[in-house]
C-alpha cells in the first residue's frame, strides 16, 4: 500500500504545483491579491505531498519491497542499510523524485525569504517555480514513475551499481542536485522580472544570495564528483570531460558568470538584460544537465534517444521553460534601461570580460558535448570528442579569465586611471612571476613555458586576492572589509589555489604500472614500495582481494596502503578501490590491477604532487560564497522580512 500512497501523494503534488503555477501568476496580471496569496499555501502543500512521496520510496527501499520495480532494479537485501537509503537516487526514476523534492525545499525557502518583496513580484516568482515543478512532476509521473510495481515480485533485488556503493556517491548527487535545481530560483526571479517589466537594483539584491547558494552547492557537488572519480575509478585522473561531467560544469560556468553579472546589476544598475539572459541560460543548462546525466539521454551520443518518450518529453519541457522564457525575453528585455555607463578601465569592463570568457568557455564545452550529435544530425557519420579537444580549447578562455581576476578585483567601479591600477597590482604581479619562474625548477628540475605561465598566474591570483585583506590588517585604516568582500577574496584565492594544484598535478604527475610479487621492493617516484602480498577479505556484499604495500621514504615507514579489488556478489562486477596516502604536498596512489599468475599482480602507481589543492581550492571557492551570502546587506533584507511578517500580510486574511 505504501508505494501507492506515494504515487497518490505525487499526483496531489502535481495538482498543487499546477495551482501554484497558474493562479498566482494570473492573479498578479489581474491585480487580484487573493489569487496571489494562494502561492505560499500551494507551495507548502506541494512540499508536504512531495515529502510523503519521497518518504514512501525510502520506505520501500528500507523494507526491501522488491515488488516495486525501481527498488528491485537498484537494491538488494544484502545491501548495507545506509546504501539502501541512498539507492533511492541510484537510478533515473528515484533521481527525478529527488530533483522534485529538492525543488520543493528551494520553493519553501523562497516562499519564506520573499515576504519582504512586493506581493505581485513574489507570487510571480513562486508561480514560475510552480510551473517548473509541475513540468518535472508530470515528467516523472508519465515517463519515469518510481512506484511502478513488478508483479510477481522477485525474491531479491538486482543490487545497487557497485560504482555507487561509496560514500562519495551518496553525497555527490544530492549536493549537485541542490545546485542544479537551485538555478531554478534565479530563473524564476528573471522570468518574474520579465513578466513585471521592471528590473532594478533591488531585484539584483534579492536574486544574488540565492544564486550564490545554488552556485556553492554546485561547486561542492562537482568537486565531490571529481574526488569520487579520482579514487573510485582507479585511473588516478580527476576530470574526464565526459558528457556527464560537462553537463554539470556548463551550468557552473554560467552560474559563475551570473554571480558576477549580478554584482554589476546590483551595484550599478546596468547589464540588466544580460543578467536575465544568464539566469535563463544557467537554468536551461541545468535542466539539460539533469536530463543528460540521469535520464540516460546522453550517456553517450549513442544513447541519446534510448527512450523516445522521455526524450520527447524533455524536449517539450525545454521548449516550455527555455523557449518560453526566451520568447518573453525577446518581447520584454528592451524595457530594462541601463542606469549608467562605464569606462574602459573600470570594474564593469573587467566583469564584462569575465562574463564573455565564461560564456565562451561554456559554449565551447557545450559545442564539444553536442558535436557528435550535430555531426550525426547532418548526416556526416559519427565522431567522438574527447579530452584532447576539451583540454586544448578550454585553456583558451580559462587562462586569460583567471589572469584577469588579479587586475579586475583591484579596479574601481565606473572608471580608474590606468597608472593607479598598475601601481596597485604591480607588487603581487612581480612576486608571483618571480616565484612562478623559479619554483618549478627548484622543486621539479624542469618546466615548460605553459607550466611557468600557469603557475605564475595562479600565484598572482592568490597574491592579489590577499592584497586587500593583508593591507587592511597591517595598516588598520579605512573601513573594514564587508563579508561580501572577504567572500570574494576567499573565492578568488580558491581559484588561484585550484589552478596551482591543477597545473602542478598535470605537469609533474608520476605514473608507473608494473608487475609485483610478494616481497618485491620497488623504487618509484622518489619512494620505496614493499609489496607484502594479496589476501582475500570478505565484505558485506562483496569479496575483495586486498593488497598490502608499505610506503617508505629512505627506509622510514610512511604508511601501509591497502588497495582492493572488490567483486560484488550480485552484479559480479569488479571494482577498484585505490589506496591513497595524502599529505599537503602530494598523494601517493596505489591501485591493484589483476593477477598476472604465479603470485604476481599488476600494480598501478601514481605520485600526484599538490593534488590536494584541487579540493582545497574548490572548497575555498564554496566557502567564499558562504561568507559572501552572510553579508550585511542581505541580512538587512531578512531583518526587514521579519519586521514585515510581524504585521498581517495584506490580502492574507
Amino acid at each position: 500500500m505504501i508505494p501507492e500512497f506515494g504515487q497518490l501523494a505525487l499526483a496531489l503534488a502535481l495538482c498543487l504545483a499546477l495551482v501554484q503555477g497558474t493562479v498566482p501568476i494570473v492573479g498578479a496580471a489581474l491585480g487580484r491579491a487573493d489569487w496571489m496569496a494562494l502561492a505560499r499555501p500551494a507551495a507548502a502543500g506541494q512540499f508536504v505531498f512531495v515529502a510523503i512521496a519521497f518518504g514512501a520510496l525510502e520506505y520501500a527501499f528500507l523494507n526491501d519491497d522488491f515488488s516495486v520495480l525501481f527498488v528491485a532494479e537498484h537494491s538488494n537485501s544484502a545491501l548495507p542499510v545506509f546504501y539502501k537509503a541512498t539507492a533511492a537516487w541510484g537510478g533515473h526514476e528515484g533521481s527525478m523524485l529527488l530533483w522534485i523534492a529538492v525543488l520543493a525545499v528551494w520553493t519553501m525557502a523562497v516562499a519564506a525569504g520573499s515576504r519582504s518583496q512586493p506581493q505581485e513580484f513574489a507570487s510571480r516568482v513562486l508561480g514560475v517555480l510552480g510551473i517548473v515543478s509541475a513540468g518535472v512532476i508530470a515528467f516523472a509521473f508519465i515517463t519515469s514513475n518510481p512506484f511502478t510495481r513488478l508483479i510477481p515480485a522477485p525474491a531479491d533485488g538486482n543490487d545497487l551499481n557497485p560504482l555507487l556503493q561509496d560514500p562519495g556517491m551518496i553525497f555527490h548527487p544530492p549536493t549537485l542536485y541542490v545546485g542544479y535545481v537551485g538555478m531554478a530560483v534565479p530563473f524564476a526571479f528573471a522570468v518574474a522580472a520579465l513578466l513585471t517589466g521592471r528590473l532594478d537594483k533591488d531585484w539584483a539584491r534579492w536574486t544574488r544570495p540565492w544564486t550564490v547558494v545554488a552556485w556553492l552547492f554546485l561547486t561542492v557537488g562537482i568537486t565531490l564528483g571529481s574526488w569520487w572519480a579520482y579514487y573510485e575509478l582507479g585511473w588516478g585522473g580527476w576530470w574526464f570531460w565526459d558528457p556527464v561531467e560537462n553537463s554539470s560544469f556548463m551550468p557552473w560556468l554560467m552560474a559563475t558568470a551570473l554571480i558576477h553579472s549580478l554584482a554589476v546589476t546590483e551595484r550599478r544598475g546596468i547589464f540588466k538584460s544580460w543578467t536575465v539572459l544568464l539566469a535563463i541560460a544557467a537554468f536551461s543548462l541545468s535542466l539539460l544537465g539533469t536530463f543528460l546525466t540521469r535520464a540516460g539521454v546522453l550517456i553517450s551520443v549513442h544513447a541519446f534517444a534510448s527512450d523516445p518518450t522521455r526524450g520527447l518529453f524533455i524536449l517539450g519541457l525545454l521548449a516550455i521553460f527555455s523557449g518560453g522564457s526566451l520568447l518573453l525575453f525577446a518581447l520584454r528585455a528592451r524595457n530594462f534601461e541601463a542606469e549608467g555607463g562605464f569606462k574602459l578601465v573600470s570594474r564593469e569592463a573587467f566583469l564584462l570580460a569575465n562574463n564573455i570568457l565564461l560564456v565562451v568557455a561554456a559554449g565551447l564545452v557545450l559545442f564539444g558535448t553536442l558535436a557528435p550529435l550535430i555531426v550525426e544530425a547532418i548526416g556526416l557519420g559519427k565522431i567522438s570528442v574527447g579530452p584532447p579537444y576539451f583540454n586544448l580549447v578550454f585553456l583558451v578562455p580559462a587562462v586569460p579569465l583567471v589572469a584577469l581576476i588579479g587586475v579586475g578585483m583591484h579596479t574601481a567601479w565606473r572608471t580608474m586611471p590606468g597608472d593607479a591600477l598598475l601601481r596597485r597590482v604591480r607588487v603581487p604581479a612581480i612576486v608571483a612571476v618571480a616565484i612562478g619562474v623559479v619554483a618549478p625548477f627548484v622543486f621539479f628540475d624542469a618546466a615548460s613555458v605553459l607550466t611557468v605561465l600557469a603557475v605564475s598566474i595562479a600565484l598572482w591570483v592568490c597574491a592579489s586576492s590577499l592584497l586587500d585583506p593583508v593591507r587592511r590588517l597591517v595598516q588598520r585604516t579605512g573601513a573594514p572589509l564587508t563579508r561580501g568582500q572577504v567572500g570574494m577574496c576567499l573565492a578568488h584565492f580558491g581559484v588561484g589555489v585550484f589552478m596551482l594544484g591543477a597545473t602542478v598535478t598535470s605537469a609533474y604527475n608520476f605514473e608507473r604500472d608494473f608487475a609485483a610479487r610478494p616481497g618485491d621492493r620497488i623504487e618509484a617516484g622518489g619512494y620505496e614500495f614493499v609489496f607484502n602480498g594479496v589476501r582475500s577479505v570478505p565484505g558485506p556484499n562483496f569479496v575483495a582481494d586486498e593488497g598490502e604495500f608499505e610506503l617508505r621514504d629512505e627506509g622510514e615507514l610512511l604508511a601501509v596502503l591497502k588497495p582492493q579489488v572488490r567483486v560484488y556478489q550480485v552484479q559480479q562486477q569488479p571494482m577498484t578501490e585505490a589506496a591513497i596516502d595524502s599529505t599537503v604536498l602530494r598523494d601517493v596512489f596505489v591501485a591493484l590491477g589483476e593477477p598476472l599468475g604465479d603470485n604476481a599482480w599488476s600494480v598501478r602507481l601514481r605520485v600526484k604532487p599538490l593534488i590536494g589543492l584541487l579540493w582545497l581550492g574548490s572548497g575555498l571557492m564554496a566557502l567564499g560564497g558562504l561568507v559572501a551570502v552572510t553579508d550585511r546587506r542581505y541580512r538587512v533584507a531578512v531583518r526587514k522580512t521579519e519586521h514585515a511578517t510581524a504585521q498581517p500580510a495584506p490580502g492574507a486574511a
Partner: protein, 186 residues
C-alpha cells in the same frame, strides 16, 4: 532589436537539433547487411593467433557478434551483461577492433571473457566489411548465417528484452536454442 531575439533563435536551433537527434533512433540504425549473409572475413583470435574466427565459424547456430575494444568506455558498460548472456549459454563472438592485443587479453582476464572467440582486427578491416560505425555494436546472426539485427550502443537488459528476444524467439525454438529460457525467453 535583433539582439533580444538572437538568444531565442539560438535556442530554437539547438532544440531543432535535439528534435532531429530524437528522430535518429540509434537502436534501429538500418544496416546494409540486414537480412543478408554475414560478410566474408577471417581473423585470428585475440587469445590464440592460431585459432581463427571466420564466416564459417558463425554458420550453423544462432549467435551474437559483438564489436568491442578496450578503448571503448561503453563496452565496459555492457560487458557484465554480455558475460551474463554467455553464462546462460548464448554463443557470443567478438570483433576486437583497433585494439592492442595485450590490452585486450588483459581486459578479458580481468572482466571475464564472454566470447567463444574474439577476432583480432587491429586495423578495422573486417569491421569495414561488417559495416561497423563504432563500438559497441552487436549483431544477431541466424543459424543460416544471415544478419537478423544490428544494435548500436551498449547492449542492456532493456534493449535485449525489447529488440533481441522477440527476434530470437522467432528464429529459433527451444530445440536448436536450448539457452532461450535462460536468456529471458519462454
Amino acid at each position: 532589436m535583433w539582439r533580444y531575439v538572437l538568444p531565442l533563435a539560438i535556442f530554437v536551433g539547438i532544440a531543432a537539433l535535439f528534435g532531429v537527434g530524437l528522430t535518429i533512433n540509434p537502436n534501429h540504425v538500418p544496416s546494409a547487411l540486414l537480412g543478408k549473409p554475414v560478410p566474408t572475413f577471417s581473423l585470428p583470435s585475440v587469445t590464440d593467433p592460431d585459432d581463427l574466427l571466420s564466416t564459417q565459424t558463425l554458420a550453423g547456430r544462432v549467435s551474437l557478434v559483438n564489436v568491442w575494444g578496450t578503448w571503448c568506455v561503453e563496452c565496459r558498460h555492457e560487458h557484465a551483461f554480455l558475460v551474463e548472456l554467455a553464462r546462460a549459454g548464448l554463443p557470443i563472438y567478438g570483433l576486437n577492433v583497433k585494439d592492442d592485443r595485450a590490452a585486450a587479453i588483459e581486459w578479458l582476464s580481468r572482466l571475464g571473457d564472454p566470447y567463444v572467440t574474439s577476432g583480432f582486427d587491429p586495423d578495422g578491416i573486417a569491421a569495414i566489411e561488417w559495416g561497423v560505425t563504432g563500438a559497441p555494436e552487436t549483431f544477431l546472426v541466424g543459424s543460416d548465417g544471415t544478419v537478423l539485427y544490428k544494435h548500436i550502443s551498449p547492449l542492456t537488459r532493456g534493449v535485449w528484452e525489447r529488440d533481441f528476444l522477440p527476434l530470437l524467439e522467432e528464429h529459433c525454438g527451444p530445440a536448436d536454442c536450448p539457452f532461450l529460457a535462460a536468456v529471458g525467453g519462454p
